[in-house]
């Protein structure tokens, strides 16, 4: 698909304002001020644009009585549930300008969500400072890191936003020994071991990144060979994603213990990334950039996270569990306000994402929607 028409001038202006923010020097170390006034102005301008250009979103907002004229603060912008991306193409540009489509992961029988993009510029500009701040906060400007990725390369998974993100990161921040260790859908354990052992010999710290399930595979594979690695000091792990649709689920604490045991990377140097196809921005644990404070996810300056009480739709009480809603200015081409399917809790200046307790006992004998989805 190619861009056939020129960009909408209003949209181009919005993109330029967001890009300017993403490219500020302090973006990658958290020094960029949160600047609520700037965010609010930009969020409401973006809302007005998307209200005008995305017809389903406009009708959704009108049904809730939230029009650009009525919305006085970014908190009032209606958030679209992520499930809607499975049924609708939510874009704020003409369909013929679609340049890229990312799709959510899912089983063969499940309808997958899709994010339609007319440009990858904002997506790529936002992921790098967030990754640096969350995973490589100690990387000197201009320096490169040893990155090994437990996910398919972008060429093998062109619809995966995660693979695309890793592709940009490896290309921009990785050294010449960096690369991908899932090929043809299979984790190349032998190749990865060779790469990690080479790093050990050279005492080069490694940033090992991938999906949580890939790490489970790696731990199992190493255990099967009675192998343990002790990655060089300064190494770290970044894991992301859940276990939905997988053959087994491993609690996070157990996963981290397994990683520590198999790779010699302690839990304090394991970063969870919270992201989703429907969002341009990602959220990383604070353990590496703020190690002395409680683990929490930090929001980039161009995003805002609300923890919402599902009963009222208002902000949950501080510390209370609620629905995670995100306003992400990077989503200029789709919808900026997203209601995730996740529960979370605010922690200081960040938040935590809480999975549904896997062993939670049902209160009844009827089949709930979640149970059917998980089947």
């Amino acid at each position: 698909m190619t861009a056939a028409l020129g960009p909408d001038p209003a949209r181009a202006a919005l993109d330029a304002r967001v890009l300017a923010w993403l490219r500020e020097p302090g973006a990658s170390n958290g020094a960029t001020p949160r600047d609520d006034e700037r965010f609010d102005a930009l969020a409401r301008a973006l809302f007005a644009f998307q209200f005008e250009h995305c017809a389903p979103y406009r009708r959704f907002c009108e049904a809730r009585g939230r029009t650009p004229g009525a919305v006085q603060h970014w908190r009032e912008i209606p958030a679209v549930p992520t499930g809607a991306f499975k049924e609708l193409a939510l874009h704020s540009f003409p369909a013929e300008r679609t340049a890229h489509v990312f799709r959510t992961s899912g089983t063969s029988t499940e309808q997958r969500g899709a994010l339609h993009l007319d440009t990858l510029a904002l997506y790529e500009a936002s992921l790098l400072p967030s990754f640096r701040r969350g995973v490589l906060p100690d990387l000197a400007l201009g320096a490169r890191a040893r990155l090994r990725v437990l996910a398919p390369p972008p060429a093998e998974a062109p619809e995966s936003s995660l693979s695309h993100m890793f592709g940009v990161v490896v290309r921009t921040l990785g050294d010449e020994q960096s690369g991908f260790d899932v090929r043809g859908g299979v984790l190349d354990v032998r190749g990865l071991r060779d790469a990690l052992e080479a790093a050990c010999r050279g005492a080069v710290p490694v940033a090992l990144c991938g999906t949580a399930f890939a790490f489970v595979h790696l731990i199992d594979a190493l255990a099967a060979e009675s192998a343990r690695l002790a990655l060089p000091t300064g190494s770290r792990v970044m894991e992301t994603g859940g276990f939905k649709g997988r053959s087994r689920a491993v609690p996070r604490a157990e996963l981290y213990e397994g990683i520590a045991s198999a790779l010699g990377v302690p839990p304090g140097r394991i970063v969870n990334q919270y992201g989703m196809t429907e969002l341009g921005s990602q959220f990383y644990d604070s353990v590496l950039c703020d190690p002395d404070a409680p683990r929490r996810k930090l929001a980039p300056a161009w995003t805002r996270v609300r923890i919402v009480d599902p009963e009222t739709g208002n902000d949950a009480e501080p510390g209370a569990i609620g629905i995670v809603q995100i306003v992400d200015l990077v989503n200029t081409g789709s919808v900026a306000a997203i209601q995730t399917a996740d529960l979370g809790r605010a922690i200081d200046d960040g938040f935590d994402v809480l999975g549904r307790e896997p062993d939670a006992e049902a209160r009844g004998c009827s089949i709930a929607a979640d149970e059917m989805l998980g089947a």
């Binding site: 549930p81 809607a84 739709g313 399917a341 009827s366 709930a368 059917m372 089947a375």
Partner: protein, 425 residues
């Protein structure tokens, strides 16, 4: 003492008590059980009052819901119903000089799930009616009902009381669960996955009976979609939805409106929303976990987006998450977040409505049926043939008879051991 050791000891005591139970005339046991059921079913029953006082805290249901659900449900679980059940399921087997004999197992274990008390009563009653002692692992949300039932039994008949033991232990205690699964018969309720996991532990030659999660629907024909009949059906269905907060397998999650009139589903949706709204002050929805409340908010939002995309979808809902009616555009019933969340599906005719249930027929429990006039028996028969184990009128879903063949099997016979003496050479 470990939980596993407690289970072993309880099973040993039950074997002893069970021997005494089998040694006495079965009529004495059935008389005592019938008396206990009558005591529980009686209007103003102190046992019901105790459950109403205690269950809301552990189950999350409102006291009004517990009161209404117990009064209606237990009314059909009386002594006469038990005698009829025994006659129906065991009478033919033991009839005359056929040489057939029916026994319970030496030990039966019931691993209970959920928060609804009525299935617990049946789980204790069934083995005892077969003179088999029962060891109960209560559900996490309801340790009250089995203990109270055991206490009632002990007051009426100490030997029956000795034939019920209750052990509780934390989830994940593998040793204790393994000890439970060494009983001669094991009954388990829960999600299909949980039931399968327990079943895998039991294995032959032991008997395993599992009850997984199921769902129910309503099917309304043209005679139930207009005027007073529509209002009445909606009121009755609202009760079916509200009782036990729609968490039971007999709770309707979808209403199929089989009517060529394109306005029929709209009328049903409006009437059902009004009935749920009217019911809320009298029988408030209980508490919901954060995940369930979030699921309701999410499903509502997604339905609103379908409407915004131009599909004929409407969301009728309370200000909070207390109740929700979504008038869908498609015919395909599917699960909801529960807690009083119903979907209305229009269908142009009966055939397409029944066909829409086909993909999920294995998990279909019951259908509330109305509005088909003289065709109703034939429609009911087609639903039973499809896989439902119950077809009843709206308003009756939550009051199954004691002999309801849940999951398509008998109440007593799955726990019975049959034998026959063949005299003739």
């Amino acid at each position: 003492m470990s939980a596993a050791a407690a289970v072993e000891q309880a099973l040993a005591r039950l074997r002893e008590a069970g021997a005494a139970l089998r040694a006495r005339p079965v009529a004495e046991t059935h008389d005592a059980l019938a008396d206990v059921l009558d005591a529980w079913a009686a209007p103003g029953s102190p046992w019901q009052a105790e459950l109403v006082a205690k269950l809301p805290e552990t189950t999350g249901f409102s006291a009004e819901t517990v009161r209404e659900g117990l009064a209606r449900g237990l009314a059909r679980y009386d002594g006469a119903a038990l005698r009829a059940l025994v006659r129906a399921e065991l009478g033919a087997l033991e009839n005359g000089n056929s040489g057939a004999a029916v026994f319970g197992f030496e030990t039966t274990v019931a691993v209970l799930g959920g928060a609804i008390p009525l299935p617990t009563v049946v789980a204790l009653l069934a083995p005892l009616a077969l003179r088999a002692p029962v060891l109960v692992k209560p559900a996490a949300y309801d340790a009250v009902t089995p203990r109270l039932f055991a206490r009632t039994l002990a007051e009426r008949d100490p030997l029956l009381g000795a034939c019920v033991e209750i052990v509780d232990f934390r989830r994940g205690d593998d040793d204790a669960m393994a000890a439970l699964c060494r009983a001669d018969a094991v009954v388990a309720t829960g999600s299909d996955a949980a039931v399968a996991a327990i079943g895998a532990r039991v294995g032959p030659p032991r008997r395993f009976v599992g009850y997984g999660h199921r769902f129910s629907v309503a099917l309304l024909g043209p005679d139930a979609t207009r005027g007073a009949a529509c209002e009445r059906s909606a009121r009755d269905l609202a009760l079916d939805v509200a009782l036990w907060d729609q968490l039971g397998c007999l709770s309707p999650v979808s209403v199929l409106v089989a009517d060529p009139d394109p306005g029929a589903a709209d009328r049903v949706a409006d009437a059902l929303a009004g009935a749920l709204r009217d019911l809320e002050p009298r029988m408030p929805r209980g508490c919901v976990e954060s995940a369930a409340a979030a699921a309701i908010a999410r499903e509502r939002g997604e339905a609103e987006m379908r409407a915004a995309a131009g599909r004929p979808v409407r969301v009728l809902a309370s200000p909070g998450t207390a109740w929700t009616v979504v008038h869908e555009a498609d015919t395909q019933p599917r699960p909801t977040p529960l807690h009083r969340f119903v979907r209305i599906h229009p269908a142009p005719d009966l055939a397409s409505a029944v066909a829409s249930l086909h993909p999920q027929r294995a998990q279909l429990a019951a259908v509330a049926l109305a509005g088909f006039g003289a065709d109703e028996p034939a429609v009911a028969n087609s639903l039973l043939a499809l896989g439902a184990s119950r077809v009843c009128a709206p308003g009756a879903l939550q009051t199954p008879p004691l002999d309801w063949p849940r999951d398509g099997v008998g109440v007593l016979t799955p726990l019975a051991r049959l034998g026959r003496y063949e005299r003739e050479r």
